[in-house]
Amino acid sequence: MARRVIEIGLLFSQSGVYAPISQAGRAGALRGIDAVNTDPALDITLQPVERDPQGNVDHYGPLCTEILRETGARHVIGTTTSWSRKEVIPALDRAGGALWYPCPYEGYEASDRVVYTHACPNQHLIPLFDWVLPRHGARASLVSSNYIWGWEMSRIAHDLIAEAGGTVLSERYLPLGDTDVDRLVAEIAAARPQFVLNSLVGPSSYAFMAGMAALAARDRAFAPERCPILSCNLTECELQAMGAAAEGVISAGPHFAGYTGPAAWSGQPPGGFASSMEGAAFRAVRALARLLAHRPGAEHLELSALLASDAAAGIDRSTHHMTQPGLVAQLRGGRFQVISATADIAPDPYLARSHLRREGASRLRVVRP
């Protein structure tokens, strides 16, 4: 039986400050395409159409338009930052395309033209806080990059900490790319929080982790077991840039390399994924292929019609977000060890159901172990 050849767009930057993340996404998407093309149960062959925005936010919209106008691709896998995702949505609207977005983000979006295949805050930040608050307390410092990811993560953290009867001791925002972290670290040293939420991205985060590691070496009150640093955006693909300074960091996400516990993503290829950034892009391609296979003409359907199929299992038809495991892991000896796992967390991108409304959420749960 001849396989239908379907073009799909890839929009990942191969250079720029967040290249380690977008390269992991690209590798996952290409691996997913290979898995589809060698799957004898499917009747389609995916043909990638690639464009490289080079980490420049102004290139995303035009390159996405180019993919949709000049090739047969209707679906694009890619974009890494929320900023670039929002740049691409008008292009999708004009050309009638769809984006599969494979990175963690801050929520408060549910575009008709986007499928979100990584985690939103009820799937990363809330499991992370459910882990940290009972164990370490609710007196915290927040550090973030000065853009939408950092602003929203700190805002939600504020609410969760207030709900637990805790206090935000310090809160700072660093311009994107800024690595001047000395004052920020000094402020945390003086505030003496019970944990630090790090929502910095890229080089700012690397410099901050190095600064905090130096602080912990001087003052054991900042050792990971007493004052852990938490993150919802730190994955294996950035460990090389941080070296030993990241040891002990606690990260939340839907996947960590080597995790095969009961909450793990199903359908992982042999060898698993090196990071959730790779895995979410792989799963985007596989999910798309399930929706296109054995449905001739499905590649021309609008996203809503495409998703109105039993093959859309795992993708919420209302919000286009996926059900995800909520894993919390600690970096030990250079590898993330999962220390808490919640299976199948349904997406709630507007925190309308999970946030501040959890049954039995009690202030009494904030105790030191």
């Binding site: 549910a110 001047d180 507007y350």
Partner: protein, 211 residues
């Protein structure tokens, strides 16, 4: 390095999960898109046309069509909606915008409704509505106090304005209000209703006793 933005944190995000939204709009793609977005955000949605039933008075948000709407559709007086109203505006003609404003719209969404604009309209409308209600409460209180000015003038006259002067008479009114533990406006009202300084009664009673 930037300090935390100085925005009030608590009122910023109202609890929207499970809240009831009613859309007053004829069935068409705008209605569908809006209902879909509201459901994504977690609200319970119903729609009606051409009239808003009385039961809608308990909804948390009402969206209404500014293009084809008219006063009689609403079960409350113009501008007296008990919840935030959000106008769905197609024609930006000044008359239609003015009519939507007169209904007391706390926010608006331009038609055609896509997948953006609904969430921010909910947040803005809730805040505008709450602020407006708080302001109206303050204004009502101030108006009441303003209306009591004439009563205060009358009370001060009864308390010996002409015999002892304005300062003395006004101090006497303040003392009585303190003794009775009521606002000065209420004390003035009592004195005016009574027709004279209550101290005169005591003095008269004492004179009667001596006789």
């Amino acid at each position: 390095m930037t300090r935390a933005p100085q925005t009030p944190r608590r009122p910023l995000v109202p609890d929207l999960g499970g809240k009831r939204a009613v859309i007053l709009h004829r069935p068409n793609p705008t209605l569908d898109a809006l209902a879909r977005q509201l459901a994504k955000i977690g609200l319970q949605v119903s729609d009606c046309w051409p009239d808003l039933p009385a039961a809608a008075a308990t909804a948390d948000y009402v969206f209404f069509d500014a293009d084809m709407g008219h006063d009689e559709q609403f079960p409350w007086a113009r501008g007296a909606a008990p919840m935030p109203l959000i106008a769905l505006i197609g024609s930006e003609a000044p008359g239609r915008v003015a009519w939507a404003m007169a209904q007391g719209a706390c926010g608006q969404i331009l038609k055609p409704v896509g997948d953006g604009g609904v969430y921010s309209a909910l947040l803005i409308a809730r805040q505008v509505f709450d602020e407006r209600a708080a302001l109206n409460g303050r204004i009502a209180g101030l108006e009441q106090r303003l209306g009591a000015r004439q009563t205060i003038v009358q009370a001060v006259a009864l308390l010996g304005l002409h015999e002892y002067g304005e300062g003395h008479a006004y101090n006497r009114l303040r003392q009585l209000a303190m003794v009775w533990r009521v606002p000065i406006e209420d004390a003035a009202e009592r004195i005016v209703a009574h027709g004279r300084d209550p101290a005169e009664d005591a003095a008269a009673a004492a004179r009667n006793c001596r006789r």
